[in-house]
Symmetry: D4
Subunit: 159 residues, 8 copies
């Protein structure tokens, strides 16, 4: 089971892409708001209990000085995937990217591209696939589908 959390409900339009991937791959998940800055205790509880509640991987999205992914990673031993969200007063996304990516030695966060919650979902599926061969097959099928769409675009453009 996977967890999706975000620092603010305004991040939902971005973070929903991760949920859609889980639905597409048939991965059970939960989704909620956990703010490192406005609900630090809730964040602590969430991270502390994540593994015992059966989560295997956590996707955390946040903007600006984005501390949620790194703080959750500091508390749990589960792999944490960080999604830098471009907030309204963002410095072109640099703030959330660097706040999530540049974690100190000892506490990694698996960072994906700006606003790339879809890729966060796919990465979570790949992580779960390491123990679930059927997911790996679905992932291969997903990639085959991507390939076919490009081939169709190519065929159309070459006409």
């Amino acid at each position: 089971k996977a967890g999706i959390i975000m620092g603010s409900k305004s991040d939902l339009p971005v973070m929903n892409d991760a949920a859609d991937i889980f639905k597409e791959f048939g991965v059970e998940f939960e989704i909620t708001v956990v703010s490192a800055h406005r609900t630090p205790e809730r964040m602590f509880e969430y991270a502390k209990n994540a593994a015992s509640r059966g989560l295997k991987v956590i996707i955390a999205g946040a903007g600006g000085a984005a501390h949620l992914p790194g703080m959750v990673a500091s508390i749990t031993t589960l792999p944490v995937i960080g999604v830098p969200v471009k907030s309204s007063n963002s410095i072109d996304g640099w703030d959330s990217i660097l706040s999530i990516l540049q974690m100190p030695n000892g506490i990694p966060v698996a960072t994906v591209a700006l606003n790339a919650a879809k890729n966060a979902g796919l990465l979570a599926v790949q992580i779960l696939s390491t123990a679930d061969a059927s997911l790996a097959e679905k992932m291969q099928a997903y990639k085959d589908e991507l390939r076919k769409k490009v081939e169709e675009s190519a065929a159309e453009m070459e006409k």
Copy 2:
């Protein structure tokens, strides 16, 4: 009383400048290591009890994805001053600056320049001065001293 915390003991050469300012101004202080990522519970305790232990202001320094100042600010109601420290694999300091500066609405961190723990100390003194006229006088004397040193440099250069 003021608190100085840093994410790693390797930040001490930078953060000591704040301690020196407190000694110079006769401000009582404590200094220790609190890592948001390696000791999240210690960080929680520190921030939770800071006010009741008599702290009036906290200076927090950290490098890279610097979450310490913002997380402490999320837990306490005391003013928190953040010092972006340039770590060994820093992206020219941008990572710690943006991780500390770009806090979301609701949870401010008073950010100073890169590695500027001295200015963090002075800012803390100014904050304490709002309730202590003698500190304000010392601050004025400190500024007079700065002015005199420039005037001496000028006199020497104009020779």
Copy 3:
């Protein structure tokens, strides 16, 4: 009492957020335009007399090569909070951020996030709280309110 100043009346939509915080917390304040570049003498007078007029903290917002916060800080011993405003020809906000943040040793400015006048107001309240326990209580209540709103968002999303 707190002072809010800005380099141009075009900064008012941003800077009003600080005034709203003062109203919410019942902090007396004054608000006006003071341009470091177009009214240097007015700026000097403002900063010189701020403490004697009873101000305890100054919030200064400016865009581009934003010199207002730093210059006011050079003249007064009061704590100065700088709000980098993203002006119309801004280089993504870098210009006002760096012009305010990177102050030399001796003259700190408490810098907040880009356009974050709300956080400037909250930081000013925290500074005033160091000598006013009732403000500290209001700040705690404010944070509790932030927490509740996140919890409500979370409850709704978890449905």
Copy 4:
């Protein structure tokens, strides 16, 4: 089993940190040079056969226009962890970070901090932990050790 690859043998001093983590956690691994640009076919073969050779996760480090992590991710369904290496003519690390992080939708790379091969190793262990409870326990012990070291630093500094 984990794979560590790098674009050039000059990346070994950085990438060895990942190998050290695997040794510390008792994770079987292989390490070699695979250049996307100088040995594209070797890269293809490596990525194509990685899963069937028993690899569960791949760590790929590269500098400059760092295409190795993303290209390997495009060919395999295994999770790929990318380590941006700061090369000799790097633009402060921005080139390798952005070349690895900003992958298009469909093909994620789990990016870690600049030169952070140690964190890449830890992230790989966390990924393998999702199917191996003993590794999760070792990870908890590793984190406990980190915590203790900070507490020792703190005790020493507080003296």
Copy 5:
């Protein structure tokens, strides 16, 4: 004969400018979609056979972590011109520019400005001109035309 490829059909509005230049100069060309990440084998085939199919120069456009130009350059010996495309979640274009420009020693990509497919087309014509004097003459005529348009603008503005 020249080849134009792009990582996604969404790059076509930008990349068409190269095709228009080829039409204007009477250079035979083909245009299609080849994705390094979604169709790595197709990309391999394309690059491997480009010279034997009679291509003399390849223009490759891509956005984000833009690996297409560099990977094609790694496989073929033909000159490859890279067009950094500004994608929807681009970090102001820096990601595609640095991913294409900062190639390691041994594998150059001739990089042009952001979104500058027109200049890519002109550069390809200049490359083909080294063996075709008539193209060089057309290029001179093209430049004369540019000059005349500026002179007309100037005459109008000087009125």
Copy 6:
């Protein structure tokens, strides 16, 4: 007569290049330290009296949040040339460049390259040349000398 001022005596090794140019061109000048932040009143006096003391142009160098050139320009009507100095904790020079360059409408500063006090001196000479034909001739001779040195380098390299 020209004035050279700098925010700190530590800027002298950079700013001396401007003095050397004035000596070479026989332009009378004065040089001193004026700190916007540590001696704001001295700065005011300097700028206020510059024209009446016979100065025709002012060169001002400063690092970090470099307010000296812009503040002097706000007070005098003389042309002010700003030299961004790369200070010890500089963010790669961006801070001083943007603090000097991005002046608001109404108050220009003639900004030169990072640490380019030599060019500041030459620009001042060009400005004085507009009213002094003999200086214009010397400037032409200076440029001829630059040209000859390049030609000598070229001749040597072509051997």
Copy 7:
């Protein structure tokens, strides 16, 4: 007499601000298009003859890889003011700023803020003022007007 040149007629909306300043101050000027890249010979002629045609100062605006100000400065001994224009595919203005600002030793360009043709005009007036006391008086009056407008804004806001 002053010259205003720009690399493309599309720069006119920006560069007109300089012309408006010249009209306001009664400074004779000419305005035209001169492209360093599309009309290099015209650019050469313009710069070569500028002084003999009676020009005292040149304002040159350009976007992207903005070579016009620097090339004109390399040919004439007149002071050249550079206006970085933000072009349609600009990297946030960094390209034109750095192309104009970072001139090598020997050939200065007086650079103003992004799109700041108004300030370029004012700087040109200041340069001409060094030999024309009446212009200096007008400049003082202009500054007084700026001051009054701020004071009016302030009075209104303080109501």
Copy 8:
């Protein structure tokens, strides 16, 4: 025949890498200093006569506000390869990269990585190869050599 030019003899250590490639591939070349800013007429002559003197491709290296590649490209119809050189006061190389890369429509420069004169040489060989099959063969052999060196590194590391 190929031409290598550079803005200053101090660029020679970087630019020599291009000469070495030409020697290795048996391509006739000339190498000299041509400064856009200090010898604009020499630059004009060089570019104007390059084609008639038998040059087929020009490599131009320069640092800072690097105008040489773009200006040469504006005058000749030959393909011009630009090498951004990191000068002593460079803003991390951004200045020379953007000054060379961001050319306006109509005048392309084939830009390579920072200081990558070796790649400039290889790109020139690829351009010449379009009309010289023996050069294409040598290029393939060169690439085979690169591949072998990686394979040897790999074999050694896998021991």
